[in-house]
């Protein structure tokens, strides 16, 4: 199980900001695959250049096996100020 958060343009593409995925969400790659199967545009947007992933509020590079109740956030290029 994983809570998935989308930020910036990703939530515009998906039409949602937050969802809980149940079965089959055991890794970041698995989450990407689940979401891409449902929504090809979102699947593409999740692997666009500059999109980072945070698991439980820490940026991770590459894939990661998730614990139960992980929070997985997809972060497109950032800009504040």
């Amino acid at each position: 199980m994983a809570r998935v958060l989308l930020f910036g343009r990703l939530s515009d593409v998906a039409g949602w900001r937050e969802r809980t995925l149940d079965a089959g969400a055991g890794s970041i790659a698995a989450i990407r695959a689940l979401l891409a199967a449902e929504d090809a545009d979102l699947g593409e947007a999740l692997v666009a250049p500059g999109v980072q992933v945070a698991v439980d509020q820490a940026i991770v590079r590459g894939d990661l096996v998730l614990n139960a109740a992980s929070e997985v956030a997809f972060l497109p290029p950032m800009s504040g100020g």
Partner: protein, 146 residues
Amino acid sequence: MIRLTDQAFDAGALLNDFCMGRIESGAVASFVGIARAEAGRAVALELEAYQGFTEAEIGRIADGARTRFGLDDALIVHRVGRIAPGEAIVFVATASRHRRAAFEGCDFLMDYLKSRAPFWKKEHGPDGARWVEPRPQDHTDVARWD
């Protein structure tokens, strides 16, 4: 101190509070980022943060800046939500014994906030909205510190 707020803030009051009681920090540099109207093309900005994560990331960078530049103190206040042209988006202040460190620390923090801090910025205009990403200049600016 790091603070996110969805309300308009008073940059002058923040500056005065930040300066108050300083008798050994001779230098306070500060910066106010203001939402531009872009000659009518921008009706509002919308700033999104990742609550908890955004404050923590900025806090880590601010702590690093304190050490790197020898700052006595640093303050970052950042708006989230909808911001009208002319309103302040961000206030950054740095204090140090001499001015060089205060300027560099403030400049560094702004470069970081512009292109590496976890915010997402949408510009609403008369013809719809667009996501704003860092300009090439912003990437050049932040790379000065790497």
